[in-house]
């Protein structure tokens, strides 16, 4: 992990260079004065007004801010789903601001993993096939695809659930399938826009536990948008947006540990339970007791 975690910046509107000096890890993402302006008829909406941000390999960053402050817009740009109106975006040192549609698709496929608030799994498609999907587009051969999907599903605690369709899985399980899907092409970065927005608090902790594990054990770089300060506390750095600008950017000295917290919560056995609806009911019941 980062050796210089104790050095903390709480300055408002800190320049991106200040943070990078304290960390030896290579920079994965660098946003340089990113602007995004939407034109709706005669009205111009300035969604982003000069975002500059650097994120290093192995960082777990939470993005917070009021609704409409430009968090999702930033995530879309980082996620190569959208292009900035002005400014530059570097991923692994490569300027991606003006790539073509196909080039962006390839970057999304090979370098990025997405986890969405609404899970965004293909319906009527098994968990395994959902997880295989990014590898289909990457041209990974069948046996390798199968092996990697099984491993990814096992890593998120869904071994034995490969055949289930999304409607046969609880929300938390669906989100874990989505995380497995985001992992399989071994991306440089996982982007999660409000991944716990549709989940109850216990399930949220479970999802955060997976994120923390991926971050700590595999050194995976994570960017997570959340409205909940509780969730942001699992990250080791928080960036706060306001009106299309970065309001503050600080490190969390001692992030919450989801694995520890889960041990304290009453156990709910997922894997030995075949009836999903019952599992969900159990979860809710446990939640009420807590």
């Amino acid at each position: 992990m980062q050796s210089t975690l104790e050095i903390q910046t709480q300055n408002v509107g800190v320049a991106p260079g200040v943070l990078s000096k304290v960390d030896e890890a290579p920079v994965v993402i660098s946003l340089d004065h990113i602007h995004k302006t939407y034109t709706m008829g005669d009205v111009e909406v300035h969604a982003l007004r000069g975002i500059s941000l650097e994120i290093k390999q192995g960082e777990f960053v939470a993005i917070m801010g009021t609704s409409g402050s430009g968090k999702s817009t930033t995530m879309n740009i980082i996620g190569c789903l959208d292009r900035p109106t002005k400014g530059h975006y570097f991923l692994d040192g490569e300027d991606l601001s003006q790539l073509s549609k196909d080039q962006r698709a390839d970057i999304r496929n090979k370098k990025l993993g997405f986890v969405f608030q609404g899970f965004n799994l293909l319906s009527r498609t098994s968990a395994l096939e959902n997880v295989e999907l990014p590898m289909l587009y990457a041209g990974v051969e069948t046996s390798e695809r199968h092996r990697r999907s099984m491993a990814a599903l096992a890593a998120v605690g869904l071994a034995g659930r490969e055949k289930n369709h999304p409607n046969q899985l609880s929300g938390g399980q669906q989100q874990r399938v989505a995380i497995a899907r985001s992992l399989v092409n071994d991306p440089a970065l996982i982007l999660a826009d409000e991944p716990t927005g549709n989940l109850d608090s216990r399930t949220s902790v479970e999802v955060m536990e997976i994120f923390q594990r991926l971050n700590r054990e595999r050194g995976m770089t994570l960017i997570l948008v959340t409205h909940e300060p509780d969730i942001a506390d699992y990250a080791d750095r928080v960036v706060v947006f306001k009106d299309g600008k970065i309001k503050s950017d600080y490190r969390i000295e001692s992030p919450r540990n989801a694995a520890e917290e889960l041990k304290l919560l009453p156990a709910v056995d997922f894997e030995d339970d075949d009836d999903d609806s019952e599992t969900v009911v159990n979860e809710v019941a446990e939640q009420k007791e807590a």
């Binding site: 996620g79 698709a105 999304r108 090979k110 999907l133 587009y137």
Partner: protein
């Protein structure tokens, strides 16, 4: 991403919506099977004409009395009002035309055959003893009458299977005596079964007697309506046709300005006319059937458009995780081609099934056309590409962010 993967993705997407896929294919299934069945009927008709011609023999010529009506090539035309064809003419043909091997006049009449209490109205053909050889028609029981019977105008008769079945059920016809116009005739043979001719007439409902007997004892007239002439070989048919024409003009003393008062036709003239009619019918039926293929294609386009809208979110997800526009376009195009092609293949099977059933259900001969099978499979794939292109392009043009937000 390679094509195989995209095909796999397309198949998975279709399997997820089996009922809809099946209904969408229905238009193509009906179209293709209709085309194949129609063409099979047409080909069957054509083939049965060919078979009949082959069974009659390609070296067969028809000589008939009276001028041939313009463009009319109808078998059995014999102008009953003229006496322009005589037995002497036929003897001359046999004698003087070297490319002719056999000749038989035919003098036809309808009459009642009476056997005991049974009676049967049938066609009686007066022919020579060479008739079975010329028509390549064998005698099943007994034998055909001889040249002696012809010379002496003997009261002998050979009957077809239909007559044998109806007048002599359960007993042998040969050796029995039937009465025709109060005259007793001895049945000397029964012809082999021949079936229907191309006009659907029962060829087995015919009796044969020496032409001399029919002329003298039944009709009382020396007239000859039609003669069958056999050329020495198929290649000699045309020469024979020309030489017969010249000989008859000479014998009938026709001047250079005079039109023929007879006609000589060969089998291929008759076959060509029949085939032409058949082809026109086949084309017509097949084109009507292919309209339903087109309608099927429009059905596919409709469903694919609905599907693109319905699956906007799915498209967004695929794009977000790295599908290129071209992969999305190919996926939808392949879905549409898989729909139409699967429909086409099912249609082929159905069409083949129908083609096999038609002969026993409707009594029409059918012959499956390989060209029609291959053609309709290719055509259905083309329908899928053509009608799937627009929806596929629409899917590929979607913006991933908008598509992901789509509710």
């Amino acid at each position: 991403m390679n094509l195989l993967m995209i095909i796999r993705v397309a198949f998975r997407a279709l399997v997820r919506n089996k009922m809809r896929a099946a209904l969408t294919m229905l238009g193509i299934i009906i179209g293709v099977s209709a085309v194949i069945a129609m063409v099979s009927i047409g080909q069957g008709a054509q083939q049965s004409v060919q078979e009949q011609i082959a069974s009659i023999g390609t070296n067969l010529l028809f000589v008939s009395a009276g001028a041939q009506n313009v463009g009319g090539v109808r078998t059995g035309t014999g102008d009953t009002g003229t006496n322009t064809l005589t037995v002497e003419d036929l003897d001359a043909i046999k004698r003087e035309v070297p490319s002719v091997s056999m000749v038989t006049p035919t003098v036809n009449t309808r009459s009642q055959l009476i056997f005991g209490s049974q009676n049967w109205n049938t066609q009686i053909q007066g022919v020579s003893e060479q008739y079975p050889d010329i028509r390549k028609w064998t005698v099943q029981d007994g034998s055909f009458f001889t040249d002696a019977d012809v010379r002496t105008a003997g009261r002998v008769i050979v009957v077809g299977q239909t007559i044998a079945d109806n007048l002599f059920p359960g007993t042998s016809a040969v050796g029995q005596t039937v009465r025709v116009k109060e005259l007793p005739f001895r049945v000397v043979g029964v012809m082999a079964r021949k079936g229907q001719d191309q006009q659907g007439r029962d060829q087995d409902d015919t009796a044969f007697a020496p032409y001399t007997t029919v002329q003298k004892k039944i009709l009382g007239s020396p007239r000859v309506q039609v003669a069958y002439v056999s050329a020495i070989s198929a290649d000699a048919t045309y020469t024979a046709q020309v030489q017969i024409g010249q000989l008859l003009r000479q014998r009938h003393k026709l001047g250079p300005q005079d039109a023929d008062d007879f006609s000589v036709r060969n089998m291929s003239d008759i076959a060509d006319a029949a085939n032409q009619t058949n082809s026109i019918m086949t084309m017509l039926l097949a084109s009507i059937a292919s309209v339903s293929l087109l309608v099927g294609g429009i059905g596919i386009m409709n469903i694919m458009l609905v599907s693109v809208t319905e699956r906007t979110r799915e498209i967004g997800i695929r794009m977000a995780i790295g599908a290129r526009s071209s992969a999305v376009r190919t996926q939808f195009l392949i879905e549409s081609v898989v729909l139409s092609l699967t429909g086409g293949l099912i249609g082929v099977l159905l069409g083949l099934g129908v083609s096999l059933l038609i002969p026993s259900l409707l009594g029409w001969p059918t012959a499956v056309s390989t060209a029609a099978v291959i053609g309709s499979v290719i055509f259905s794939a083309a329908v899928g590409i053509f009608f799937g292109y627009y929806p596929a392009r629409k899917a590929a043009a979607l913006d991933p962010i908008d598509a992901l937000r789509y509710e």
